[in-house]
Amino acid sequence: MITLNTEANIAAPDDFYERLIATHRGLTDAQSALVNARLILLLANHIGDPNVLAQAMAAACDGVSAAPDPGAG
């Protein structure tokens, strides 16, 4: 079974992050949410492996759904 790689895998992380944020420049919050959803679907299709996708979904939810909203403090 292929496992989700959470080691650093992007050669130039700061370039990537800048581009990610720039992708959203000028968009409304609703448009950004839509772009993010489409981005996830595109990347999920590229990955393909259902086990990897399931692990990524679990890692993404970890600490978000169960805990009370930490941003409220």
């Binding site: 959470t6 080691e7 650093a8 992007i10 992380p13 992050y17 959203h24 890692a59 970890d62 941003g71």
Partner: protein, 549 residues
């Protein structure tokens, strides 16, 4: 302030009021870190310099406090690194917190065998005091206080500067002017020159406090700290038990109000607890911008430091890049003044240092965008990154609390001779042409560190008896002379022989017996070969001094 009293440097009536002054090779405007470093460098090379500064003391307030390894190495060459390191607080480790959790820890200098640490923290006033002390000890450096530049008239072969003093105005004529007069540069404004870039809409509070504490000597950075929610906080230790705390306030904060102790104290109490025993030393509310001049050379006027380029404070890329400007400029200006190089060598100061400024601006802009997200989605990504960072390595690489100053690698410089021998590595950390020389522990007549043997002049660093007495003698007689330093091997006439105490010099320079590196006077590699060949070295020196075109 409890721990520091600013010295007062006396104004002395300049001789120009009583008799027309002689023309000066170099006039430096601004006695801050960059102007003083440039003055010491030129003075050490035998170039007389006059430095004019509108004030009569060093920095008021601690301002730039993080001095990077490369800046310290340059100061070693300028003869004032040791007191700064002795007084300052060395650190290598940074910690990043998200809310109340440690998410990321970094060590900036994981390997031993370097003379200087990744960073030394020292208040700018101390830093400048040591530079002033050193400048006064260098023959040919004249510091003039309470001397404000109010006019700049450039000519084809020099510049006339009008200086206002308590006795009135006088003029100083220089072949060259170095404008190191800070972000509000009078010289830049008097010449009507623009600079372009981005102003950030955020405000930050610096609170320097005097406190006995057993906090570790590390850089601690909080995103959304429990004691300062939704904003960033930075804690740094300085000399004399002074701690720098930097609170992000947001654009709507009122700078006049936030400066008041009654506003600052509750913020500090929330962070340090009700029992903490401290006193406020100095406080300041600041905004910042990332911008630079399009060119750093305008005829006979050379801009350096904040006068030429400014960045956000995250990453300690301001003063550290300014010191590198001075380092890059000193030897070039000296050679041009001596007639040993054409004045287009100074265009390479512009080319090399504008590129370094772009790198600093890019990094500091990215850090700022991460620390102070400009949109909801940007904040969501930022918080998601921080939330994943504790558990997942990939996210730690994305966390950006400041990409701390690293030396400029001048890989694209026209002064470099490209590698001819294919077996030299070119990856990160390799001593490629353009890289600053790596340090290593050595033994020899001039101290225990390799960098102490390199720079000032061109230096040919050979491994084993690579060069030989004929080569060493020939290089010493060149129009731009080159010293020979030999690592290991039988002593050679005309060369300084040193021993590689731990084999680290050979490892860091990928050396075999016979390998030679040509280093510029600012300790940057400009050529390397697997064996010594006198015509190749001559050609590389000619290229590095623009004498080949």
């Amino acid at each position: 302030m409890k721990t520091y009293a600013n010295p007062v440097f006396p104004y002395l009536r300049p001789a120009e009021f009583d008799a027309p002054g002689a023309r000066r090779p170099v006039v430096i405007v601004g006695a801050g870190p960059v102007g003083l470093a440039a003055a010491i460098d030129l003075g050490q090379r035998g170039v007389p310099v006059v430095v004019v500064d509108e004030d009569r003391t060093v920095s008021v307030g601690s301002r730039a406090i993080c001095y990077a390894k490369r800046a310290l190495e340059i100061l070693d060459r300028l003869g004032c690194g040791q007191p700064i390191v002795d007084k300052g607080i060395g650190w290598n480790v940074g910690k990043v917190f998200f809310r109340d959790e440690l998410v990321y820890r970094f060590d900036l200098l994981p390997e031993p065998g370097h003379r200087r640490p990744a960073f030394v923290n020292l208040q700018q006033y101390w830093f400048e005091e040591y530079l002033v002390e050193r400048a006064r000890a260098v023959a040919g450096v004249e510091l003039r206080w309470e001397s404000k530049v109010v006019g700049v008239a450039p000519h084809a072969d020099g510049v006339v500067v009008t200086v206002a003093t308590p006795d009135g105005e006088y003029t100083l004529e220089g072949d060259w002017i170095i404008a190191a007069d800070g972000s509000r540069s009078a010289v830049r404004q008097l010449l009507g020159l623009e600079w372009e870039g981005q102003v950030f809409h955020d405000r930050f509070l610096i609170a320097d406090i005097h406190m006995k504490s057993d906090f570790p000597t590390e850089r601690w950075f909080w995103f959304d700290a429990p004691f300062h929610p939704h904003q960033s906080t930075l804690l740094h230790r300085q000399a004399d038990d002074v701690w720098r705390i930097d609170f992000q306030l947001g654009w709507d904060a009122n700078p006049e109000e936030e400066r008041k102790p009654e506003r600052i104290l509750p913020r500090l109490r929330a962070m340090l607890g009700d029992d903490a025993d401290f006193e406020i030393e100095w406080a300041s509310v600041y905004t910042f911008q990332c911008r630079r001049m399009q060119r750093f050379r305008h005829g006979r006027v050379l801009f350096a430091g904040d006068a030429a380029h400014v960045v956000s404070p995250f990453g300690a890329r301001g003063a550290n890049s300014g010191i590198q400007d001075a380092d890059n400029l000193g030897w070039k200006l000296d050679l041009v003044l001596k007639g040993a190089a054409p004045d287009r060598l100074l265009d390479t100061y512009d080319a090399e240092r504008t590129r370094a400024a772009d790198e600093n601006i890019l990094n500091s802009t990215r850090s700022t965008d991460f620390i102070t997200p400009k949109s909801n989605v940007s904040r969501t990504f930022r918080d998601a990154t921080l939330g994943l960072a504790k558990q997942h390595a990939f996210a730690r690489r994305l966390v950006n609390s400041g990409r701390l100053s690293v030396p400029a690698i001048l890989a694209d410089s026209p002064l470099n001779t490209p590698d001819r021998d294919p077996d030299f590595a070119r990856g990160p950390g390799a001593m490629i042409p353009g890289a600053p020389a790596a340090d290593a522990p050595v033994a020899g007549p001039a101290g225990e560190w390799l960098l102490g043997y390199l720079g000032g002049d061109f230096t040919l660093l050979g491994f084993d008896a690579a060069v030989g007495p004929f080569g060493a003698a020939a290089l010493a007689r060149e129009p731009v002379p080159c010293r020979v330093v030999q690592v290991g091997g039988k002593p050679t006439a005309g060369a300084t022989t040193i021993e590689d105490r731990q084999g680290l010099a050979a490892r860091r320079y990928e050396a075999r017996p016979g390998t030679v590196y040509l280093l510029r006077p600012d300790q940057h590699v400009c050529a390397r070969w697997r064996e010594f060949d006198l015509p190749s070295v001559r050609a590389a020196i000619a290229r590095a001094t623009c004498a080949d075109r």
